[in-house]
Point group: C2
Chain length 278, copies 2
């Protein structure tokens, strides 16, 4: 069984892509009603262009058992049609004691995701259960992409490393949880300065970067600040910008075009830095 990090690196190399598609089926914006059919068309149209798919669990939970069955089917379609791609449960789970272990079991054993986003507010005990199996990864939510991420994450704290913003303290602390090499960090594209600061602290861990596209994050700055020294390990997610690229019957073609454009723009930036795929 490859490690999570190996699977992620292989997925990027195989697709020559750092693009992750966020599968966030908001009913009010979907051009067709059926979530599973919608996701199937998106996945089939984008499989060769991406390294990862990231369903955000909120949209499935908000559609009840039907939504959860569609999530189950979606994961099967990814395994069938994009077997190279990494799956990321955007679940932002985080709880203490036996609950942390139960959530890890839910994400990895029950749903079968390769990785999960984790909320670190409860500290190390709430994160470590997601890092016990080197074949599965956990992206710790370090610095969010929405405006109110600053409410707590940017506060200046007294830390053993001096006074610094909380997200930097968290990045340092989380490296201590990374004994198996399967830790990642979520760092939003809307905050490239913070992203550069986190990359300086954690030069090698993979970043999951939400916030390009609909949220208006700066793509070029995100790629430059987010990648490691080799121009890899920044997984750039777009959700609405891809899956809702067209409100019409051509949504899958439009999704493919939007994905291809994003992949090319990222790869142009990498080439400009001398870190292209060839």
């Amino acid at each position: 069984m490859p490690t999570f990090l190996q699977k992620l690196d292989d997925a990027c190399a195989a697709s020559q892509s750092l693009v992750c598609v966020g599968l966030d089926p908001e009913p009010s914006r979907m051009p067709i009603l059926d979530v599973l059919e919608f996701n199937r068309e998106i996945i089939e149209a984008t499989a060769d262009l991406v390294c990862a798919y990231k369903p955000n669990l909120s949209f499935y939970e908000s559609q009840g058992m039907t939504g959860l069955r569609a999530l189950e089917g979606t994961l099967q379609i990814i395994r069938d049609r994009a077997p190279h791609a990494v799956t990321i449960a955007d679940a932002k789970r985080g709880d203490g004691g036996p609950s942390a272990f139960a959530y890890a079991r839910a994400m990895f054993q029950v749903w079968g995701f390769d990785s999960v986003t984790v909320n670190p507010w409860g500290g190390g005990d709430t994160v470590k259960p997601f890092l016990e199996d080197a074949s599965r990864g956990a992206f710790v939510w370090c610095r969010g992409s929405y405006a109110s991420a600053a409410d707590l994450q940017d506060l200046e704290v007294e830390s053993p490393y001096g006074k610094e913003p909380l997200y930097k303290h968290l990045a340092r602390t989380s490296l201590g949880w990374n004994g198996k090499g399967n830790l990642g960090l979520v760092v939003g594209a809307t905050a490239p300065e913070q992203m550069a600061a986190v990359r300086a602290i954690a030069p090698e861990v993979p970043f999951l970067v939400p916030g390009v596209g609909a949220q208006g994050g700066d793509l070029e700055a995100s790629v430059r600040c987010g990648v490691d020294a080799n121009g890899r390990r920044a997984i750039i997610n777009s959700s609405r910008g891809i899956i809702f690229a067209s409100p019409g019957a051509d949504f899958a073609d439009a999704a493919r075009n939007a994905t291809a454009s994003l992949r090319e723009a990222i790869n142009r930036t990498l080439e400009g830095e001398g870190k292209g795929w060839r």
Copy 2:
């Protein structure tokens, strides 16, 4: 439709109880295999002694669709057998943008919970969608009961109120989100000093207090530090201490006895403070 706060106050008055039972069905510890049947017996044995039931969603999610159907059935049993009781989804959800609204819809519209625990790491945008409907409540996870809660929550931060631990800053900040009076705070019983500090900042909001029983929190100190000026609005949760009070076939009787003991111990403390139910 009563407000959430009215429903909670009424539930406590009707049962003369501040006890909440945590419905956390860990398969390895359950005396019978069937989650729904287990919960049914616990609920029927405790209905007249408690103000609230709190299923922790991790245990249901970790049992797949079967677990989630058992959660659905459990909520129906609570509505039938303990109609006065408030339901709390211990879900620790927290995410930004459309996801925050989707999670609120999942908890309140799909599952039909009266209230939910919310993770504030992402700031105001991640919490406010849970506070839009005054008939539903949100308990913001302010200071946890597990040891690693201190990792982030106790850090000293620079705030507009001066230098103080982050959980206190969060308590102050969260009062600004409470325009509809349906905010609560989660404050662990293992940290009575922190609880007293939060109560001083937020004299009237309901507290959800985990950590008595299996986690070893100090019950008497928690009651004294947690209640408001009238001796109310501290909902004291016990999960394992009640539902796993006996590993045998008498688990429901044992759960009733453990619940009654907890209720009496709390009420003795209230009476000692001149704040009993009569």
